[in-house]
């Protein structure tokens, strides 16, 4: 199978709708296909990876810990649009610490979240072969 660049575009907040959860489910399955996978969190999508999600009160499953597994699946490019964070009064500190271990660098732990400007993210989108929007 040839390698394509797959982008998962997330623009919706978690829990209010199912899209965030079911998007992550595609990502996990997609990991097995050894494609060049990236995730983008834009607009309310940035809320999918905030720290401290506690869902007992709403009776739904907290699926945010699953993002922590992405590094193990070799999904290491999680783009977060700076403008979207700032518009929501958030900083990198409000987001979960998502990391991956670089085997080419003595298994050094590196951040998977890449904070990018709109311009930078637009350039990333342009490189993609397949964009799945949720």
């Amino acid at each position: 199978m040839s390698t394509k660049k797959f982008m998962f575009l997330n623009r919706k907040a978690p829990y209010g709708t199912v899209y965030a959860l079911e998007s992550l489910e595609v990502v996990l399955i997609g990991a097995a296909f050894e494609q060049d996978v990236s995730l983008a969190f834009v607009g309310d999508g940035v809320y999918q990876i905030t720290k401290g999600q506690s869902t007992d009160g709403i009776g739904m499953k907290n699926f945010s810990p699953t993002f922590k597994a992405l590094g193990d699946y070799e999904i290491t490019k999680l783009y977060v649009e700076k403008e979207s964070l700032e518009a929501r009064g958030l900083t990198l500190d409000d987001l979960m610490e998502l990391t991956w271990e670089d085997e080419d660098d003595d298994w050094a732990e590196k951040p998977s979240i890449r904070l990018v400007s709109s311009e930078e993210l637009a350039a990333v989108f342009d490189e993609q072969d397949v964009v799945l929007s949720f």
């Binding site: 834009v42 350039a123 993609q128 964009v131 929007s133």
Partner: protein
């Protein structure tokens, strides 16, 4: 590589069109479909945003969705090309990737 962006929600309902414009690059195409066609209309609160974006992107609007909503092609912003479904298909062949802004 150039991208065909599709926007299917009204700019009055959702920020999809504004976000698409912000996150697309020069030389791309933006096709307005379904409720997104309202973004193609002149004289609205969003027309200036769209006109400004037309410097870098080619804009298209799906004619059948305009007609369904009683929007006259006469009132579409100058420079936005009206296409039908076969025109939509053609656009997908002319651009390398399709990106949906839902």
């Amino acid at each position: 590589m150039s991208t065909l962006h599709t926007v299917n929600k009204s700019p009055f309902e959702r920020d999809s069109l504004a976000t698409c414009i912000r996150l697309s690059t020069k030389g791309c195409a933006i096709l307005l479909i379904e409720d997104g066609v309202f973004g193609a209309m002149s004289g609205t609160d969003h027309s200036d945003m769209v006109s400004a974006a037309m410097k870098d992107a080619s804009f298209y609007v799906l004619g059948p969705d305009l007609a369904a909503r009683g929007m006259s092609e006469d009132r579409v912003i100058d420079g936005i090309q009206v296409v039908d479904y076969s025109g939509f298909v053609d656009l997908t062949t002319k651009h390398d990737t399709c990106q949906a802004w839902l």
